[in-house]
Symmetry: C2
Subunit: 760 residues, 2 copies
């Protein structure tokens, strides 16, 4: 209910629209203000204007020129600075500077080293303007987005046959009709995704489609399924790839976990380099795999033709189960695992070059076409050669060995399969961050997933996926095979919701041929739902229950994140005009509340209006006149740091006093004498803390001051000693830090650190 | 050389005197200002006075009364507060408040729980005024300070005989003369410590005596030896105690490490409760042990008398080594390990009730007396009964079994021995924090060791010892026997230096009978040195080399700490009057430096004097007039938080401008439009960061501003969003924190956090 309610409120106007026309742009982190916010902003500006009587501080002369125009020749590094390079800034127009270089390469050699290593691994940073060039051409997109989908033909037909053979070798004849059904499913899903891409040209993933058509909870359910699946894809496919390597080179078996982490790190680095770079790295193996399997077909067909297309009868295998509908359905669902990567293109639509949807659609068509050819061809060849799953050898390997009894071809096919299985993880690295970007844009994921890294990739999402996959990989010791039953369920959950969403979409929007389109999507939804239910039921005990449990938990987490962001946005929203017509929310006397006791204001100002205290106090202090100051300076010892803090505080020209905390009366008296030696320029308050605690009494004292007159802004000026070396921090008690932490909880208390730097 | 030079300079007057008459007092953390510092303080005060023209801000009316006098009836907890309890403060005299309750017991139940547990374990906090009552009476001091010393008679005689028996059972006859020599050593060291306590009534530990008489390096050497020894005492004696328990109950052996940690935790808690409480806990076992051993003597003597004092001949044991001087020396040195706890009283003198030195001296006399009686008595009885070390049973156990063949007495003696061995660690818990207190007072240890906890114990030192001992205990898996050779060396290093220091002391101060006193101390020093050299040489390979290595390293660490504190004190010292006579360090125009380019000051003030820029810039900004302000407000989005920060910044009445960081030109233009909608009240500077980094360009920009005019104090006002729950922090990018960290390195840049609190 909560989400539905919130959704309705969002449509009221304060929230950004669900699908603004911007897509993958660095500005996504800065959503524009809504009209209501702009109105409120204007209103606050009017209050400010009235308060100041038309003398904006904007016109005051500053002690230096903030555009640095006069000073461009002076790259003077400070004595303590480690970033001082003014040349970094280029002045273009009045009031605007542009950063001309990457900012992370300065300071000492040791401090620069991590940044340099990063640059060496990831390449130079890319400017925001390059975002278009970083988008994908079709030839790059195909290998980047299809490795997951295409690699699955290496195990999809086998998974189907492995179920059928349970009913005896006689049942293997069913493989061709089931495969035909799967091809129908592939074509249906592919075609309906083509429709989806056209209908949602700014991103056509299940999350977006289901959110838009069926409501945010359906979208989040689809997203949760996909998130689980992406993480599993990475760890399982890396485990499978490493397994293939270690069965070839058994000496490497003890290094399974480090090898796997190395592969994940490689994928991480490759993807952090950005889409184009990742395409360059990952294109060759995918194309090699396609070529190798096509070669297998050609030779296999030639050999079959030489035999006059007479099929080899399979060896007799006894039945373990009776042949029933359940076995057929299970075989169908298992074979459908070949389709798990088909979603990749849909989420990545905005990452294509313009016209995005057209390029994406063509790419999808090609991918599905290749998938159908590979899948159908393999199934037919296996049937023709009478191969039976089982034993230590995969069907693909049996087929290759039988087709190429001699020569290097067999090894080539095996190697290409291994590499492409490893790279299947790469699809997840492309899709997962984009999915999180869309979720973060809607407030369902942390906002940091909106940030584009310095290579214009969504680095935070890429890193999150790598970390999650590595954790699972390490937790299972590199043997993640037990996670395979969890697979597929998440994807087909997403497919079903996406297709069902499209049906709803057509019903709402209609348009040309909408009935035909809706029927196509409905067929897809039905078939996907069939696979989903079959997979969830038959694999429930083996592990699918984890997904059934994890999906709602993830959805709940996303909703909680959204609720937090909603609460934050409400709290930070500007006050709407409360008195329509006047445009001022408060009477002309200014907002605020009087002191609790109603005592006369010692500053001689008129008492503030009572009714605006309490929950409305977030709405005051929005113009300079509304801020009433009291500056407090805690002083432990009258040294240079303390005197600077005192001078700073006094120089602000606001009411100020000092407070000293003492464990004993004698010490307090001694301090007061020193204070008088200094000249007693400021009022001094002493607190005796007989239990020798420092932070708690000070914080409590400030809180008491605040409670007395909540409308006064208390500024606590703390001298902060800055040391150069980390271990020197151990020699200081860091009162400043602890005090700041204790005061954080208090509204209306501003903490100011006046630093003093120790040499050496 | 460094330390000597610094010592000389310290005597020049800027440093606090090495041994002020205060001792263990909570005010030790606030050393009084020296005369030079007071003069400088007065001088700065005069500058301030002249700058303000006799209108001190002290007389300004504050918007509320900081003494809270009018508001005592209002314990209003804030919406976010967790410490709001105004009743805590009691107003006594004008300008002074006293904390009347412990500050840590407030907030929610969960937040209070740790504080409550602490209170339950440690008891209510003790006020500083109770420091005198927390001091020790003699009857409490004896068990608290002597458990280490007295428990060592359980193994001292055995250690001596174990060396002698290497030369065959015939050599065992030498045990009586060697024991006599050891008694002479004990009496000599005891007597000379009596003299030391009289001469250094404010603390007579080796560190203090050697520092004062032989220079700080000797003192630190002695301290390093003692520090190592205290840590070893705790882990070794806990290991020995647990060993005794597990040999009685072998089922507990797998729990050696947890049991040992439990014992260390118990010692920690007992000592954190304070001296008096620890005395109550630890007194009974020590007295029980003394009584048990005395009973053993009485019965043993009675039996011997019944035999007509005829000694039992020892069983024949073949010689492994020839009987030579080395064996005798080694036996002497091994027996001397009975003395390792004798230092305890000397460091603890100021913890006695007045008259401190007299009470301490009497306690020492008693301790040494009991030690001599127990040691000599045990050695004689062992000789009388013809007991030989070796086998699985300790000599004390053999003796007890022979003296009490039946009845519960044997078990009683064994139990008392076990408990007192465990408690031997307690002496270290008393002495170690006091030693660190003295070192911290001189700047050779972190200042936090000056702090008295809320039970008036030096909690930081107690915790440090427990942690160090526990680490060693865990690292050696509870089997710390291999550390025993490291023992003794450190203590006798300290003894030797202390006694030698006393000789130097008498030579300097003379006084009545100084030659006799010096001769006594010289004898003590000689004997201790003999033991030290013997122990170091004979145990070098077995482990003493660790001490030989660790002592200089520790001394170096202490010197480094002192250098850091010296540098800090110099950096924070107030500027001495630079122009004698006038009392003003700068011409009347005010200190400071002009901008680099010499451009005209846009504020219209006269240009500052050139010569005071550069290294002397720490000396300006000490009066309000000397502080020149420029306020910078980074704004990401025009929400409530940003507008409050802008209003706060503008309300200070100083020159102010805002800066916005944008990843793209489009976003920058959009932001400027919003700025104009608001009313364009402040000058806005935009920075385009095409590489999408935020913190580095902002920090670098501020640094560039600072480099342009270092004499301007830049105040960066950052809105800070405060969330209630820890996990919500993950949802925010915490720019404020990162920016603060990046700006910390810049001198003259003040960071102000304007908090805004999210509800829920």
């Amino acid at each position: 209910m909560g989400a539905g309610r919130r959704r309705e409120r969002d449509e009221g106007g304060t929230a950004p629209p669900e699908h603004p026309p911007v897509t993958f742009s660095p500005s996504a982190e800065f959503p524009p203000l809504t009209d209501a916010e702009l109105t409120a902003l204007h209103d606050v500006g009017q209050r400010w204007h009235a308060d100041l009587g038309g003398h904006p501080p904007r016109d005051a002369v500053l002690p230096l020129d903030p555009s640095l125009e006069q000073y461009r020749q002076q790259p003077t590094p400070g004595r303590f600075g480690r970033l001082a390079r003014i040349e970094m800034f280029r002045t273009e127009r009045r009031g605007q500077l542009t950063v001309t270089g990457s900012a992370d390469a300065s300071g000492t050699w040791l401090r620069r080293a991590p940044a340099r290593l990063r640059r060496a691994l990831l390449g130079p940073p890319l400017a925001s303007a390059a975002v278009l060039q970083e988008r994908m051409r079709k030839l790059v997109a195909l290998p980047v987005l299809s490795s997951d989908l295409l690699s699955s033909v290496a195990y999809g037909p086998e998974a189907m046959l492995a179920v059928l053979v349970l009913a005896g070798s006689g049942a293997l004849g069913l493989s061709l009709p089931i495969a035909a059904g799967l091809v129908v499913l592939m074509v249906t899903v592919g075609t309906s995704y083509r429709q989806t891409i056209r209908a949602y040209p700014h991103g056509a993933g299940s999350y977006l489609v289901a959110s838009d058509s069926l409501g945010p909870r359906s979208g989040l359910t689809a997203a949760a399924g996909l998130i689980l699946d992406y993480v599993l894809t990475v760890s399982v496919s890396v485990a499978a790839g490493i397994g293939a390597i270690t069965s070839a080179l058994p000496g490497l078996t003890p290094f399974t976990v480090p090898l796997g982490l190395l592969v994940i790190a490689g994928l991480l680095a490759g993807n952090l380099r950005g889409v184009r770079a990742a395409g360059k790295i990952f294109a060759a193996p995918t194309y090699l795999f396609i070529a190798a399997v096509l070669l297998l077909f050609a030779v296999g067909l030639a050999r079959a033709a030489a035999r006059g297309f007479t099929p080899v009868p399979p060896p007799q295998v006894g039945a373990v189960e009776g042949l029933g509908l359940l076995v057929v359905l299970r075989a169908f669902a298992s074979g459908a695992s070949s389709m798990t990567g088909i979603e990749a293109v849909a989420d990545a639509v905005p990452a294509f070059r313009p016209v995005e949807w057209r390029q994406a659609r063509t790419t999808l068509t090609w991918m599905v076409g290749i998938l159908v050819v590979l899948f159908a061809g393999l199934t037919i060849l296996i049937d023709f050669n009478g191969l039976v799953p089982g034993g230590d050898e995969t069907l693909l390997s049996q087929l290759a060995r039988r087709t190429f009894p001699t020569g290097p071809w067999y090894a080539l096919i095996q190697a290409a399969t291994t590499i492409v299985l490893l790279l299947a993880a790469n699809t997840a690295f492309n899709d997962f961050p984009r999915l999180l970007f869309f979720m973060a844009r809607d407030g369902y994921a942390p906002r940091r997933f909106l940030h584009m890294g310095d290579r214009l990739a969504f680095s935070n999402g890429i890193v999150a996926l790598a970390v999650a996959a590595a954790l699972i990989f390490v937790a299972f010791g590199g043997y993640t095979q037990s996670l395979i039953p969890l697979y597929a369920v998440g994807v087909f959950l997403a497919f079903t919701l996406s297709q069902a969403g499209m049906v709803a979409h057509w019903r709402r929007h209609r348009g040309r041929n909408w009935r035909r389109r809706a029927a196509l999507n409905a067929t897809g939804a039905l078939l996907c739902a069939l696979v989903l239910v079959t997979a969830a039921i038959t694999k429930f005990v083996a592990g699918a229950w984890v997904v059934v449990l994890a999906v709602p938990l993830l959805v709940l987490l996303c909703l909680h994140i959204r609720w937090h962001y909603d609460a934050m946005r409400e709290a930070l929203a500007l006050p709407p005009p409360q008195v329509p017509g006047t445009g001022r929310p408060e009477p002309a006397g200014g907002p605020g509340g009087s002191g609790r006791g109603g005592e006369p204001d010692p500053m001689g100002r008129p008492n503030r209006v009572e009714e605006s205290t309490g929950p409305g106090d977030l709405l005051v202090d929005l113009t300079p006149r509304e801020v009433r100051h009291l500056v407090v300076v805690p002083v432990a010892r009258l040294n240079l740091a303390a005197l600077r803090a005192l001078a700073y505080a006094a120089s602000l020209g606001q009411p100020v006093f000092a407070v000293h905390l003492s464990p004993e009366q004698e010490e307090a008296d001694r301090f007061r004498q020193q204070w008088e030696t200094w000249g007693d320029h400021l009022r001094l308050e002493t607190i005796i803390s007989p239990y020798r605690t420092v932070i708690a009494p000070l914080a409590q004292y400030v809180e008491a001051l605040h409670a007395v007159r909540p409308e006064v802004t208390l500024t606590v000026v703390v001298p902060e000693i800055v040391v150069r070396h980390l271990w020197h921090k151990l020699l200081h008690t860091r009162t400043e830090l602890l005090l700041r932490r204790a005061l954080r909880d208090l509204p209306g208390v501003v903490v100011t650190s006046v630093p003093i730097h120790l040499p050496e």
